[in-house]
């Protein structure tokens, strides 16, 4: 049995974290109503899998801890214990502890021993209080009758049924685990072994009698066999003091061999851990998605063979069929691309699921009554985006909890229902996913924000700003939300971090608010980061791709629209707005066809809320492009967000509009300064 267990370890961690998430959300469900047996069962199952898995991988601390939790849940499942609020909170705390333990083990870090011990004690206290029978550790069928003190060991007769292997159990593992409990002498019972020709390799014919010496709890032994209870005949009889010398097991376990295996396994584990600390992740894909990809690949193969038959001896009269085939190929490829992208999509509930807990804990701690509503949890978005949106979302929800919602007294005083509401909503709109965080709290106080902004020197006194612009001020760096929006002290982390994170995902965030009624934060994110719709523009001999999402319109300039502003470069007037012009050829030192602004084309683009006109020679086609990184082999270039490969195999660069605007601002500034000096 020299299977390298380490390869399964990652899967175990992943599944365990999933299990913990399930436990957490189900525990929170328990909170709301009386004990639903199915809910408790779900929690129990999750805990049981974690325990079993951790035992198998030799993560004994985890197994031990989960065991206590499981016992508690078992009592609830059998209706012997009521799920009290206290029990619930302790269990939630132990979910946290377990998550901490697993994270620490995975990343090869030290366990928080104190915290674990404290929670474990809480659990044990809970278990001992008001429990009908304290020794429920042992299964009910075999109550402990022997005084534990006089027991010096156990005789164990373990006869697995022949179908033991079919359930994926391994007697060697069980014996190895028994060995950890005390001194083990083991005797093999091969009486059931059939003649060689009748033997099936998939059946278990062996049995064992073991003698375990040491002060071992009966429960601990049964625990070892808990996975195979129904697939074996098991007898566990205590050995009294006087008989202990009499029985001598004839053969000892081939210990050296076993130890080596377990040693190997452990070093293997360690290796994975040190290597696995980096962000490697897997993804769970629904079987329907895989099936549809397989179907499409099938079609692709058919099209390919059709085309190659056609090509074998090609005649121009078959041209129509060739064109048809190529159309088919294009269709297949596009569908395949869409399906593969769909595989990376996950419902946003993965990001939302942490919030019930957050709200639960917050309302307990701060005495605010809060209801969390979530809609559109099934809205799908790219996994990479999902991973990165979690933290900004948490920050926004906390903000709403902290600063947005009032205390129950304040709410009643202002004639609102005592229970505050936070609404998380997600939906698709165009090529974007929109996430709204809405609260019915006090709303943003524009006067206070304004005063603070003036104090910080972010705006000038007397500057006239629209309401929305004022709200946007809270997203500027250095604008701490503390003591401005509410009297509750903030944590000192500004909204600018949120904004930065969202912008890194090429998303946008907007705020709207009504005093006394609440605020809404709206996040808009592209569905995926790997593919974008691009407009190809030409500057001289060079082609660049402009992300279609940032293009507002493309126009040809007329002389009367132009305007030169000293120190600000060229501008043009578009429907009562004066917008700066960026000459792409100038910024990229390219050789243009047109120098006169009225001869080329102007692509009006928007980046980070600013509109500019990009001066280019020509517009080419629109196409979907796959984004490739320039940094992988070279470095980041200002104004360029990446590269892509065009149909003819050449490389085209993708413009980074906000970066370009910054670049051009710097350029204009230096030009202006140098002119002033001259």
């Amino acid at each position: 049995m020299a299977i390298d267990m380490s390869q399964f370890l990652d899967t175990f961690y992943e599944e365990s974290f999933e299990g913990l998430d399930i436990m957490e959300s189900e525990l929170l469900n328990l909170d709301e109503g009386d004990a639903d047996s199915e809910t408790i069962n779900t929690i129990f199952r999750a805990a049981h899998s974690i325990k079993g898995g951790s035992g198998t991988f030799g993560l004994n601390a985890v197994a031990e801890f989960t065991h206590i939790l499981e016992t508690l849940l078992d009592e609830m499942r059998d209706g012997r214990r009521e799920p009290t609020e206290e029990a619930n909170n302790t269990m939630l705390a132990s979910v946290d502890v377990l998550r901490g333990m697993l994270t620490a083990l995975r990343d090869n870090m030290d366990l928080e021993v104190d915290r674990i011990a404290a929670t474990q004690k809480d659990l044990e206290t809970l278990l001992n209080n008001g429990s009908p029978s304290v020794d429920t550790v042992a299964s009910e069928s075999t109550p402990t009758t022997v005084g534990e003190t006089s027991v010096v060991g156990w005789d164990i007769v373990f006869k697995p049924h022949t179908n033991l292997f079919a359930t994926g159990n391994d007697p060697v593992r069980i014996i190895r685990e028994l060995e950890t409990l005390g001194e083990l002498l083991i005797d093999l019972d091969d009486s059931r072994l059939p003649p060689f020709e009748e033997m099936s390799p998939e059946e278990c014919y062996l049995g064992w009698t073991a003698k375990l010496t040491g002060n071992v709890d009966r429960g601990a032994i049964e625990e070892v066999f808990s996975w195979v209870e129904d697939e074996c005949d098991l007898e566990i009889t205590p050995v009294k003091n006087e008989t202990s010398e009499a029985v001598k097991g004839p053969t000892a376990l081939p210990a050296a061999d076993e130890r080596r295996t377990s040693g190997d396994r452990r070093t293997g584990e360690r290796r994975t851990k040190s290597g696995g600390a980096a962000e490697s992740s897997s993804i769970r894909v629904g079987i329907d998605k895989v099936d549809s990809v397989i179907n499409l690949v099938g079609e692709l193969v058919i099209t390919q063979s059709m085309l190659s038959t056609l090509g074998e001896d090609f005649d121009t009269k078959n041209l129509n069929r060739l064109i048809e085939g190529l159309d088919q190929l294009e269709l297949n490829t596009r569908q395949l691309q869409e399906e593969v992208m769909r595989m990376r999509m996950m419902p946003i509930s993965f990001a939302f699921q942490r919030f019930p807990r957050l709200v639960h804990d917050y309302s307990q701690k701060n005495g605010k009554k809060i209801e969390l509503l979530m809609t559109g949890e099934q809205t799908e978005l790219d996994k990479t985006v999902m991973e990165k949106i979690g933290d900004p979302l948490t920050h926004l929800v906390r903000n709403s909890l902290d600063h947005g919602l009032e205390t129950p007294e304040e709410r009643i005083a202002s004639g609102k229902p005592e229970m505050g509401t936070i609404n998380l909503n997600a939906y698709h709109q165009g090529g974007n996913i929109v996430i709204e965080i809405r609260d019915d709290g006090r709303g943003l106080n524009s006067e206070k924000i304004r005063a603070k902004a003036i104090e910080k020197g972010l705006i000038e006194e007397g500057a006239r700003l629209e309401q929305e612009k004022i709200y946007e001020l809270i997203m500027l760096p250095g604008f701490s939300t503390a003591d401005v929006i509410s009297d509750v002290s903030g944590r000192g982390v500004g909204m600018d971090v949120v904004v930065k994170n969202i912008q890194a995902l090429s998303g946008k965030i907007e705020v709207s608010s009504e005093a006394g009624k609440g605020s809404v934060f709206t996040i808009r994110l592209p569905l995926t980061l790997a593919i974008l719709d691009g407009q190809t523009v030409a500057v001289g001999k060079e082609d660049y791709i402009v992300p279609l999402v940032s293009i507002i319109e493309s126009i040809q300039l007329k002389p009367e629209m132009l305007n030169a502003v000293v120190g600000k470069g060229e501008t043009f007037k578009l429907r009562n707005e004066h917008l700066p012009i960026i000459r792409l050829h100038k910024i990229f030192n390219a050789e243009p066809v047109n120098i006169e602004l009225t001869e080329g084309l102007l692509v009006v683009v928007e980046g980070e809320g600013k509109k500019v006109g990009l001066f280019v020679d020509e517009l080419r086609g629109q196409q979907q492009v796959v984004i490739k990184s320039l940094e992988a082999n070279y470095r980041r270039i200002e104004g360029i967000s990446g590269a892509t490969i065009l149909g003819d195999g050449s490389v085209a660069l993708i413009l980074d509009i906000p970066g370009l605007i910054k670049l051009s601002n710097n350029e204009v500034m230096t030009e202006y300064q140098s002119r002033k000096i001259a």
């Binding site: 760096p477 060079e542 910024i587 070279y634 270039i637 104004g639 490389v651 910054k662």
Partner: protein
Amino acid sequence: MSTATSEQAVSAAGEATHNSIGVDSSGSQYLTFALAGESYGVDILRVQEIKGWTPVTRIPNTPEYMQGVLNLRGTIVPIVDMRMRFSLETADYTEITVIIVLSVKNENGDRVIGLVVDSVSDVVNVDSTNIKPTPDFGSSVNTDFLNGLATTDDRMVMLLDVDKLMSEDEMTAMASVGEAADAVPDVAAQSD
């Protein structure tokens, strides 16, 4: 990248060739190429492929020697003109102008780059005892990229330290760009 590491690389290369081809254990193989009449060599184990010159996509605002990027089976590979890199007289690209695609290592991991050279000559075995340290040419020639000089068959080959090619200057350039980007204040919502 310290010299110790590149020496290790050289000795590792030597061992590899010893096992497979059977040359002298203390030597290694170098691919030599011509550049303005001079002969240079790169460790052959770093060479991924040699391909003819094809037009590249220019990257704006990069040093002149950075010719641009090329699509190499789906990977975007930067292409460096070695004549410009070494401040040699520039020459037109002809049908014997080639791109040597190399894998280089630096603190940011493995990268792939292409070098534009006049022509590829041959592969030589260089005994490590025949590698001499680079003499000081004075300030006109940058010897930072050289591992040493090797003499084979009455010919002198300058051995390139390929890891340095993409590290120092380029990386400093990157760092300063990164800082500059961070230093620009986020003025998205600021009014005019």
